[in-house]
Amino acid sequence: MKVTLQVWRQKNRTTTGDFVSYDVENVSGDMSFFEMLDMLNNSLISEGEDPISFDHDCREGICGTCGVSINGRAHGPLKGVTTCQLHMRSFSDGDVLVVEPWRASAFPVIRDLVVDRTSFDKIMEAGGYVSIKTGGTPDANAIPIPKFDAEEAMDSASCIGCGACVASCKNSSAMLFVGAKVSQFALLPQGKVERKERALNMVATMDDEGFGNCSNTGACEVECPKEISIINIARLNREFFKASFN
């Protein structure tokens, strides 16, 4: 099949970018979206042009490195997958696809579709850890944890920090990311010790990094490739409220 791409091209942080149109032919439905971009890049290189820069690593949907907006949807139209796991069979012959980087002032564009997500690292540094010696793998049930809590914590921990929540939010809010990180620790005994400082520090860093305020539209949970629920945001609000008033 044939698709037309309108790709955001931007040389570096300081220049302004624009959309460039490319026709890509002989696209197989079994190709991943990135394999299709690889094919386009090969032809651009052979023509002496700059290839399109985009972030990727595992290409298995687990690392959280990749992520572009396709026709306004973070990670494309398919629910519960990262861009690397999106295949061209999700599109039709003759489709026009607008491919953009994550749009947020806290995620400045470095080049083309690559954005700087250091702001997420700073939020993690502010409290996304436990300050105890964890040692080796503990024996099962050495610390009794209710099944429901363990499941909830694992659901929250499945956040891969890709930034799709920020990209899909009209306010570029990072509340789903921070909510998932705060929840995963707050639900487990090892994380409860530092829950107060964690909620206060991670929210303060999130605000300092220039992310917007959550409007509770729920767009983030729709676009999250790991289908993290906005219940995590409700829990973050509770954690922050309790930490502020205690």
């Binding site: 947020a104 570029s172 509770n216 409700a234």
Partner: protein, 223 residues
């Protein structure tokens, strides 16, 4: 007090203030609706009730001032949030995913809010000001002002404006309620079902009854 200012200036604190003031303002709608439903019951009862409020002036004034303060906080905080959010998201996507990912009511809070404010100013400048004058001159024909006069439902354009504003109020409350309880961290609690029922009462039943009053007097009364 430093912790308090730190809280209300944080992203979650600002949302919390928005939710709290919004909920308190919504409570007034119950009183106002209870009063207005008497329009459908009996002309004399409505006139005597509104007339009776003249005797409770000090209490009414206190409530009016409190409501005005709540409105100011809600509006100023809303403007502050909107400006910050625009700064955080200066460039949107070329293609807008529209309602694929979020409801219309959640994406139009600023527009619905501004329309409600415009409606409120208009409502106060016409009906409220007129009622104050009537209280002063001991004129108790309040029902006629609402049902028949040119500043009430006697004017078809005012009726249409009221209906549009009330539909937007319904949209504002639909997202506002869900959003407020999410902000309070209660959306996943055991009270979820009760909260959802209260939300339907506020965004559907209350605006629906106000619209019923507008439609009845605008299109059917005396016709």
């Amino acid at each position: 007090m430093a912790w308090f200012f730190k809280f209300i200036n944080s992203s979650i604190g600002k949302k919390f203030i928005m939710a709290l003031t919004g909920l308190l303002l919504s409570l007034f709608l119950i009183i106002h609706l209870g009063n207005n439903l008497l329009l459908l019951v009996d002309e004399d009862i409505f006139n005597s009730l509104v007339g009776g409020l003249g005797g409770l002036k000090p209490l009414v004034r206190v409530i009016e001032v409190l409501l005005a303060i709540l409105f100011m906080i809600h509006i100023i905080n809303g403007i502050r949030l909107t400006i910050q959010n625009k700064k955080s998201s200066p460039q949107g996507n070329k293609v807008n995913s529209g309602t694929e990912t979020a409801s219309i009511s959640s994406q139009t809070m600023a527009i619905s809010g501004i329309t409600i404010l415009a409606f409120l100013i208009f409502h106060l400048r016409t009906i409220w000001v007129k009622f104050q004058e009537m209280h002063a001159s001991q004129d108790h024909e309040f029902f006629n002002v609402v049902a028949e006069s040119n500043i009430g439902f006697g004017n078809i354009w005012i009726t249409i404006f009221y209906i549009i504003a009330l539909i937007l109020l319904s949209m504002h409350l639909k997202h506002g309620f869900q959003s407020a309880f999410q902000t309070f961290g209660l959306s996943d609690s055991r009270y979820k079902t009760i909260i959802n029922c209260i939300a339907v009462f506020f965004w559907f039943v209350i605006p629906g009854l106000f619209i019923t009053i507008a439609i009845y007097f605008g299109f059917f009364f005396n016709n």
